[in-house]
């Protein structure tokens, strides 16, 4: 069995169990979405306007929840040394970790997002678009967030640092993703926004592993 497949399966199992895994993210997401009608009032007309936007904001926050543990545990218990001395470059290892993180939290959130949006008044027809956009956005969140988590290694109060580093970088996917969903709902051309979102996600997946590997090497030295 290929070592990378072994690593992926282990990372998936760890991400699934890490701090509640998908359940924590889903629970947070559900709670944040359920608070909205309580805050702005039950008027469906008003809710439907903000449903898409609030879904995205909740998604970003939910996917940040378990990110601080992505490298921290491995750093603290010595696994990072083992990973560095393994058969695959640390850049690939970082990519595998983020992919597992996305599969364990980003993908379940993408499946839950249309439920929340429709419950808040978004049209049912928008559901496939919401799944596609949030799944792509989730990839960007996982890789950019992973870079933040690696940079925060070996610093106290790393969680705060992750939020400060990562949130500005998560603004573009939220803008593109939110626009894609809104344009799709209103019948405007949406493909450009979705393409920009996909480009951002792919760029994050391609570039961030280098940042993560560099930050991890720096942390263990």
């Amino acid at each position: 069995m290929s070592p990378l497949w072994v690593l992926f399966r282990r990372e998936l199992a760890l991400a699934w169990g890490r701090g509640g895994g998908p359940l924590l993210a889903l629970g947070f997401f559900a709670a944040a979405s359920a608070m909205l009608p309580l805050a702005v009032g039950p008027s469906l007309a008003r809710l439907a306007v903000v449903a898409g936007g609030v879904t995205w904001v909740s998604l970003v926050l939910a996917s940040l929840l378990s990110l601080d543990r992505l490298f921290e545990r491995d750093f603290e218990d010595g696994t990072l040394d083992l990973l560095i001395l393994g058969p695959a470059p640390l850049e690939v290892v970082s990519g595998v970790k983020c992919l597992a993180q996305w599969l364990a939290t980003g993908a379940p959130l993408a499946l839950a997002a249309p439920l929340a949006a429709v419950a808040l008044g978004a049209p049912l027809a928008a559901a496939p678009m919401i799944v596609a956009a949030t799944a792509l956005g989730g990839i960007a969140f996982a890789f950019v967030g992973g870079a933040g988590a690696a940079l925060a290694l070996a610093s106290r109060r790393g969680g705060v640092l992750i939020a400060v580093i990562v949130l500005p970088l998560l603004a573009p996917p939220v803008i593109f993703g939110g626009a894609a969903v809104a344009d799709f709902q209103t019948g405007l051309p949406w493909s450009a926004s979705l393409a920009l979102l996909a480009a951002y996600a792919l760029a994050a997946a391609a570039l961030m592993p280098f940042a993560m590997a560099g930050a991890c090497r720096n942390a263990v030295s």
């Binding site: 040394d81 263990v220 030295s221």
Partner: protein, 204 residues
């Protein structure tokens, strides 16, 4: 396969402090070195520098195969085991899962992993979560990958700490077998190793 390790005028600096400088040492297949020295002398840093985790302030570490020099990155990824202070085990996973991962990641197979665990007296513990194991049992579990995934260079940081007398004997036998098979060991120790080893004092 590494057949010789050369440490050439190595200097290591941590923060503003130079731990040691001008260290020369060479180790050939079948040889063992015991690093001694006071706490903080730089034994762990030397091991981590050989493993490539720390960049030395001066000097270098070179690896040679039977037919010439091997690129350091390749040698470290393919031929080098590092056992540090921590065992790299996740406390909420089964001992078997962790052992299989460490072994496969280092290039060994499941059968060899089970055999190594039984050799180190861990056979009945593999079904337990790591948090149920004692410190000595965790250390043995961390050492099992040395036996299960054959790599010629073992870098060991206090390998015998927290092991009981029986497990020290088992692991001593494993070290002798490794050396007889052409392996190399560099170990940071405070007590004597149960094998014949050249003593190199750090920061003396």
């Amino acid at each position: 396969m590494i057949a010789r390790l050369d440490i050439e005028s190595l200097a290591i600096q941590r923060g503003d402090r130079i731990l040691f400088a001008g260290l020369n040492a060479s180790l050939a297949a079948g040889g063992a070195v015991a690093l001694t020295g006071a706490n903080g002398a730089g034994k762990t840093s030397l091991l981590r520098a050989v493993a490539g985790l720390i960049r030395p302030a001066a000097g270098r570490v070179r690896f040679f195969g039977t037919d010439g020099e091997i690129e350091a990155e390749t040698a470290r990824r393919r031929d080098c085991h590092l056992i540090g202070h921590q065992d790299g085990l996740k406390t909420n996973r089964l001992a078997r899962e962790e052992l299989f991962f460490q072994t496969r990641w280092s290039g060994g197979g499941d059968g060899a992993a089970v055999a190594a665990a039984e050799h180190l007296g861990l056979g009945r513990l593999l079904g337990l979560e790591v948090r149920m194991l004692s410190a000595g049992q965790r250390r043995s579990l961390g050492l099992a990958r040395l036996i299960a995934a054959p790599r010629p260079l073992w870098l060991l940081d206090e390998p015998l700490a927290s092991l009981d007398a029986t497990r020290r004997t088992f692991f001593g036998e494993a070290m002798s077998r490794h050396l007889k098979g052409g392996g190399m060991i560099v170990a940071a120790v405070h007590d004597a190793l149960p094998i014949a080893a050249r003593v190199v004092e750090i920061g003396g």
